[in-house]
Amino acid sequence: MIHVLYFIVFVICVYTARHYWFTLNRLFGFQRHPYIDIDTASWPLVTVLVAAHNEEKVISNILSALMTVKYPEDRMLVIPVNDRSTDGTRAIIDEFVTRFPGRIQPFHRAAGKGGKAAALKDAMELVKTEVILIFDADYIPGAGLIKQLVAPFFDPEVGGVMGRVVPLNVGTNLLTRLLDLERTGGYQVDQQARMNLRLVPQHGGTVAGVRLSALREIGGWNDNSLTEDTDLTYRLLLAGWKTAYQNRSECYEEVPETWAVRIKQIMRWAKGHNQAMVTYGLRLLLGKHRATLRERIDGALLLGVYVMAPVTLLGWALALAVFFQGLAPLHGVIALFSLTAYAALGNLAAFFEIAAAARLDGTRPRICLLPFLILGFAVSIFSVSRAALSQVSDLVTGAEFHWDKTERFRKVL
């Protein structure tokens, strides 16, 4: 038992060190933004896919925004991927098609497999351009965003691009404020540090892009994946394509406003991530492919982030068990130290990261909310552990995953 605990503590220490490394890199290291200055070029043809499933509350916002971006009109085609919507999404899209002839080509999908990856896969029959950008329907791209997301594709090594997601409904309640802090840490520090250190920036599946030839090379969208973005990240990596992260290519999104929606969202992410870990983890670490050593290590750690929740819970249980065994005092002390060390150092690393990220964003008072993140972490740790357990039980019982769309909170315009 104690050896399992030692191992868990070791893994936690690795993740803690990783948090500190990323944060210190962002604060003091060399920052890579190689493509952000490309403002003049022969801009390529681009297709913008907007994934939409019952999005009547938000779809008009993104279509309006896309019609006003500063990208040559004759070089950009928007394809709203209306995936079996039963609300007013189709009517809204068709109205935009009429208003902007030749600039929007709708893809109305009436049947087929559920999930974003399956919808995108079907929509590919309309895509003719080498550069594809993907947005979820609740995002609102700014005027310069399309050029910024296209620019990295001038680099022949880049197969995927990811921009930064910024919550729009920050001030709604405690949850949205905590999610704002989490997003800040995840993008401003984690993603940019991975970009700086030439590790594995993660493709987020929205505010993102992919090169058609790279996508074809890796076999297209994987509609069996629960998180097509993580799946894409790793298949690109294994094939020698890079995912570029553009920290200054920011786009507003809507974050969940209720805990129930948040829990569903994070459980889906956890299941998808774990699925990718099982599918690609071993191959990434030990297989013969084009990823570098540092990418292998970082990629493996990234794949393991959602497993850390049940592992940490197990560590807590083991630490208490070892302590209360009372048979081996030394072990008991070590267990106690392990528990307190994690509480002091492990958590602090994540807090430090988020505080640094908020500081980099030039915001200050919101850092005061950091203590409340314990609440967010507690909810996440149990939700993610529950997701992992249900995934195991699904495996045993053969139950199929049910795709849950994240509920929107914006008022219908």
Partner: protein, 358 residues
């Protein structure tokens, strides 16, 4: 002491200590003093002409006054709606028309001229300048911002802190320090020893560009390829060398250094994670990207964007982009020899310099 009270006191103390960090959190949650979304630039796409456009709109308030100056041939001064003092003129070919008494003086007002304007040397202009015609600056001047509706020409060793935009040509004599944005709708010409950060024009020249540069030397079948165009990819995990005179069709990615021999032609894009060297006369139809330093030898022709993540040296005769296919050249530190032409944007994040060839 009563043990019950002691325990209760301890519990209370611990509870207070536990709650203490939550006090500022609760205050912020209640006040929402920092609960707005992060300020993401939604409408301004970072165009180099943004400030010039805003200033043109701002200066339109002076349009009737400028017209009166044109009709009467006199000057006018006053205060703009935001309290900024101005001096309005018809034209100013005699520097004595300006409120500047001696060399080394500071001109504290916004200057707006309906037509051409010539300003004396050794002067600091702390406010923006608008020239309805040509603008000609004396040597050793300091400017905040200039908008010229025709050509703008800065004298030697002039300094610019914010921006300049010329609807016509922009020229800077040797030794100028251009710390802000410089744009022209026609052409930018920088002489030797000029420093710069961000330049944008259909054509940017350093020093004297050879007359026949306009007729591109490359093969007629060469054309600018879009960096995203589907092309075969050659991926090398270490260093790679393209031999002199070799023709390669496809994109090249080297995880180490990349050396492109003299006269080699790449019909695609190239990328090196390490240093990159392009020997004399090499041509690349797509983009050129280096994760470290890049040296572009004499007379190279590159059609697509050029990005070096650390530093870039471009030598004489090199031509980047074309009038019909403008492009971007970007690196934190850029040195450009005289005799280089860039069509589009030349952007040095930290320091750019025109190097004089002895």
């Amino acid at each position: 002491m009563n043990p019950f009270l002691a325990v209760a006191g301890l519990v209370l103390f611990v509870a207070v200590m536990f709650m203490l960090p939550l006090v500022p959190a609760l205050v912020e949650l209640k006040r929402k003093s920092d609960a707005l979304p992060l300020n993401v630039v939604q409408q301004n796409a970072g165009e180099i002409r943004h400030f010039a456009g805003s200033f043109r709109t701002y200066i339109q308030a002076l349009e009737p006054i400028l017209q009166r100056c044109v009709a009467s041939g006199e000057t006018a001064c006053g205060t703009l709606p935001d309290g900024v003092e101005y001096l309005a003129l018809d034209r100013c070919e005699d520097p004595r028309a300006l409120p500047i008494q001696q060399p080394g003086a500071i001109c504290p007002v916004t200057i707006a001229a309906a037509s051409d304007i010539v300003v004396p040397p050794e002067t600091t202009f702390v406010r923006d300048i608008y020239a309805g015609g040509r603008f000609r600056g004396g040597d050793n001047n300091s400017y905040r911002a200039i908008l010229g509706e025709k050509d703008v020409h800065l004298g030697s060793f002039s300094r610019l802190t914010r921006w300049v935009h010329a609807v016509g040509d922009f020229a800077a004599d040797p030794g100028c320090e251009l710390s802000g944005r410089v744009s022209s709708d026609s052409c930018i010409r920088l002489q030797g020893a000029c420093n710069f950060l961000r330049l944008n024009a259909p054509r940017i020249e350093t020093g004297r560009v050879r007359a026949n540069e306009d007729s591109i030397r490359s093969n007629p079948e060469d054309h600018a390829v879009e960096g995203s165009e589907t092309a075969q990819r050659f991926l090398y995990d270490g260093n790679f060398e393209v031999r002199a005179g070799e023709l390669i069709t496809g994109n090249i990615v080297a995880r180490g250094k990349l050396h492109i021999g003299s006269g080699a032609r790449i019909r695609g894009s190239v990328k090196s994670v390490g240093d990159m060297v392009l020997e004399a006369g090499a041509s690349v139809q797509g983009s050129v990207m280096s994760g470290k330093q890049m040296l572009i030898g004499p007379d190279c022709v590159i059609h697509g964007p050029i990005v070096a993540e650390h530093s870039l040296l471009m030598t004489i005769g090199t031509r980047c982009g074309s009038l019909s296919h403008p492009t971007t050249v970007s690196a934190p530190r850029i040195e450009v020899e005289e005799g280089v032409a860039v069509f589009g944007t030349l952007w040095a994040r930290e320091h750019g310099a025109v190097v004089t060839i002895p």
